[in-house]
Amino acid sequence: AESGGAAAGEAGDDKITVAIASAVTGPKEEVAIVAVGTKMGYFAEEGLTVDTINADGSVAAAQAVASGSADITPADTGSLLAAVQGNVPIKTIGGLVQNWPWQIAVLPDSPIRSGADLKGKKVGVISLASGSAPYARAFIRDAGLQPDVDVELVPVGVGAQATAALTNGEVDALALYGQAYTIIELAGTQLRYLDNPPVFQGIRSLSFGASQRELDQDREKFVRFLRAAYKSMLFSAANPKAAMQMGYEVFPQILGGADPASRIDSDTKTLEKWLESATPLQGEPADWKSWGDITDEEWAKTQAYTKEAGQINAEIPLDRVWDPSLLEAANDFDAQLVLKQAAEYQP
């Protein structure tokens, strides 16, 4: 079966398997990175052939990487921290989603206008064992309320299930990530968002975690992968529609049997939403620098948040988690050329 991965003719010598930390394929990292990198030949240029597997969540993805089923995964940074604490031989080698993707949303006519209004209400989270629960708790705490006392968390999942819970009044607000909201809105439900307080600024969501073993054997391979990945991101940011079309070609299963023409617009919007969280909010793509960098301050915030969420129980020495040494070489690419390719792209 024609399934995901390197469909392009010019295959490199080195193989890299990317574990997608989600059971489904969608307009997110696999499209912006894998599909575009493959279709545009960025991986081939680096002598790489890239394949994907779907792991059910960040923990499973980290396990897949650590046990050799995959080489690298864009996984939740908190999970990567937890993995390291659990002595999993995995190292973060670059950032991916740099802007906080989680938000609280309510129905447009909801009386809830600020965090404080959540008192006595119910907030829908994906599940109590997912990133959305610690986020909701942190949000509630910041609003001066006590989670699980003043506000009840209810696991509602995403998509239709979450929508139903909100519109039926089973919950008063949702705590989901941006792209999940886009899907809900595109399906016809209007939402209003509460502003995230500044505490969330700088907490990292997805980052690239690589197998320590592979890394020790061939660092260069990962440098080349990161470079191609960031180039692909830049391309996608510049021409998300083209990226989405490549996504359909490389991962036809994204469509789930639907007609591409009927989905391209909404999927492009979803992809844009994802890219928005994964790339700097300010400036023009041409000015974006230091792809994948995570500052020590960001790490500190992320560690504190992860600890608060209970995923780790002590701060982890940075050098055990973080190996930024690949980034300089990974950033060594001609951004203008990529932008040009994006502008001139013809399917």
Binding site: S3, A23, I53, A60, S69, Q253, G256, G257
Partner: protein, 283 residues
């Protein structure tokens, strides 16, 4: 489908006036030919018209008309048939492995009580473990490909079959075993000539449960981490907010289960006829 008679139908031994299996269907004889579609139509109609009335959104429970539309679209899509084929393949292979293992192990367990005592606790213990939670292990052991799904299908169809095989092989009539023993039959011959035939109703019950569960197992396996198969398609349609499409897939799964069930029941009537017939025409 011919079924066992109800109590007061025991008297109903084939009277000459009543043709047993006429070529032409007499609707009074086979009311199910009207009833099954009737129930279907009523259910579907209720579904179609009640849903909007109850204010249930299409994104929770789409109306049949939408689903049929989505189904049509799926059936016209080549990729869908690939997904279907993958799931069918996983289910069948998993079913055969699960049921085969259960037959062998069930035989050993029912025949050698030491094997039972040594193995059974572990089998039961393993059976209660939610395999979905073991996903990372499964995937490490069996890869992200089709194998892990086959294993899932096999594991979930294994236990119902095992329990039924054990119970069935034990249900054999002691007098019949004694009879064969006197004539010098070996354990194997007794097994083949008495235990196995006696166990047939149990074995077919196990097969029936097993085939239905193996489809379930394959689909759940696809939930864990797959790139193809109907389980994957379910996740994808759900993710895409294509709830009608998701229901279309669910319907395809139901039809798969039904077909499998009827194949098993057909085999039962072919290969275990005596139970049925001696029950119907007992005297």
């Amino acid at each position: 489908m011919t079924t066992a008679p109800a109590a007061d139908e025991v008297t109903d031994e084939v009277a000459p006036a009543k043709p047993t299996r006429g070529k032409r269907f007499d609707l009074r004889e086979r009311p199910e030919l009207i009833l099954v579609p009737a129930v279907f139509v009523v259910l579907v109609a209720a579904w179609e018209f009640l849903i909007p009335l109850l204010g249930i959104g299409d994104y929770v429970l789409p109306r049949p008309s939408r689903i049929v539309e989505a189904l049509g679209q799926q059936l016209g899509n080549a990729l869908f048939w690939q997904h279907l084929e993958v799931t069918v393949r996983e289910s069948i292979i998993g079913f055969l492995i699960g049921v085969g293992t259960a037959l062998v192990l069930g035989t050993a367990i029912s025949q050698v009580s030491l094997v039972e005592k040594t193995l059974m606790p572990y089998i039961v213990a393993f059976q209660t473990v939610p395999k979905v939670a073991l996903a990372p292990l499964f995937v490490v052991w069996f890869g992200f490909g089709i194998t892990s799904k086959i294993v899932m299908a096999a594991v979930i169809s294994f236990f119902p079959m095992l329990v039924n095989v054990i119970e069935g092989l034990r249900a054999a009539d002691a007098d019949r075993i004694q009879m064969l023993t006197v004539f010098g039959a070996s354990k194997l011959q007794i097994f083949r000539m008495v235990r196995l035939p006696s166990a047939m109703p149990f074995i077919f019950a196990g097969l029936d449960i097993g085939i239905v569960f193996s489809i379930l197992g394959a689909v759940v396996g696809e939930f864990i981490g797959a790139k193809e198969g109907l389980g994957y398609l379910l996740l994808q349609t759900n993710y895409n907010f294509d709830i009608a499409g998701m229901f279309a897939v669910l319907i395809v799964l139901s039809v798969l289960g039904l077909i499998a069930h009827f194949i098993i029941r057909f085999a039962q009537r072919k290969f275990a006829f005596w139970a049925e017939e001696s029950r119907v025409i007992a005297a």
